[in-house]
Symmetry: C2
Subunit: 199 residues, 2 copies
């Protein structure tokens, strides 16, 4: 005999599939949903369904969106001169939070990783090159992750795009603001030294 | 302009309502759901809906259940002589995990807490007394939480039930197995001394 009613077990199993959610957390969430009022619990169920039904990829920048093209690509207030290239849609948020960037985005859908069989064809690179053809874009900011894959992707893109006469830049790597040099790993420290600026 | 498409924002907001889920985790879960295949994401939505539709309270023990009476109350293999009294349905799991208890359960729906306006009428105490009337029940094990409220509830129940000629016991409080005396708080240590047994 299972300790839970079948529909409770099923809910716990479904919750356990989520990243970072183990048995205990899944149980806690399931009992929370069972205790909460019907509208609230079904609100979550409906939100999942609605998101899966409505969300598609923007045909311009590959961001996830309700409308095609997405809110960034159709915005009248954003500059068309700069495109920030990121690996995945959530990365946009990190850039947006700075409130310093008002250009457009391009989502690659990952980074080059020969070991995982991800080559240039698996990424949305062709459509990025297409976007440069109008001559409006003056700068590509490459904001892929500071990992081996992200770096390789940045180098690959820069070799591809520079010959087209577009400026290619890479976000700075270095010591995070508010941290302590004591805890910096040697690679980050090396990048911080390399990227030093005149005061 | 929001950083996310409206249906993504809604999904994040709904996930944030869950206990222990903040903005960052909600975003991570939302993007996971958006990336995962349709069946898997909708599996969670359907499980929530199914649980909310099917789950009711057992009319005997107040456990959450698909069927009324619940799997414990209808089980042919469980002894009807002992009832373990707990505060909430998830507490049953802690008892079941021991594999030592094969009696029935009774869920109070909380513990006495005058400060929060929870008196005996707000708990499922009347139905517990009803269950004792047949004369089958020989022992009530009170497994409310080892808190002030749980203790008060245990004392209240014991005063109510003992006169009916039913044995009333309370789960032991003491040092958890595998821990270190060094880290035991004084109240737990006091309970451990009080509850000492002959070797």
């Amino acid at each position: 005999m299972s300790d839970f009613a079948p529909s409770v077990s099923r809910l716990i199993d479904e919750l356990k599939r989520l990243p970072g959610i183990g048995q205990k957390t899944a149980q806690r969430l399931a009992f929370f949903l069972l205790r909460s009022d019907r509208d609230q619990a079904l609100g979550l169920a409906d939100a999942i369904r609605e998101a899966k039904d409505k969300i598609r990829e923007c045909s311009v920048c590959n961001n996830i969106t309700d409308t095609d093209p997405c809110q960034f690509c159709t915005s009248a207030t954003r500059s068309r001169k700069t495109i920030c290239v990121v690996e995945e849609p959530p990365n946009i948020l990190a850039v947006e939070k700075t409130r310093q960037f008002s250009g457009l985005y391009h989502i690659l859908g990952g980074a080059l990783s020969p070991l995982q069989g991800i080559g240039p064809e698996q990424l949305k690179i062709k459509s990025l090159i297409e976007r440069l053809k109008g001559g409006t874009v003056e700068e590509i900011i490459i904001a892929t992750n500071p990992t081996a894959e992200g770096e390789a992707t940045a180098v690959y893109l820069s070799k591809l795009i520079k010959p087209l006469g577009v400026r290619v830049t890479r976000i700075a790597m270095g010591i995070p603001v508010g941290s302590d040099l004591e805890y910096a790993d040697e690679v980050t420290m090396m990048k911080a030294m390399e990227g030093r600026r005149d005061l």
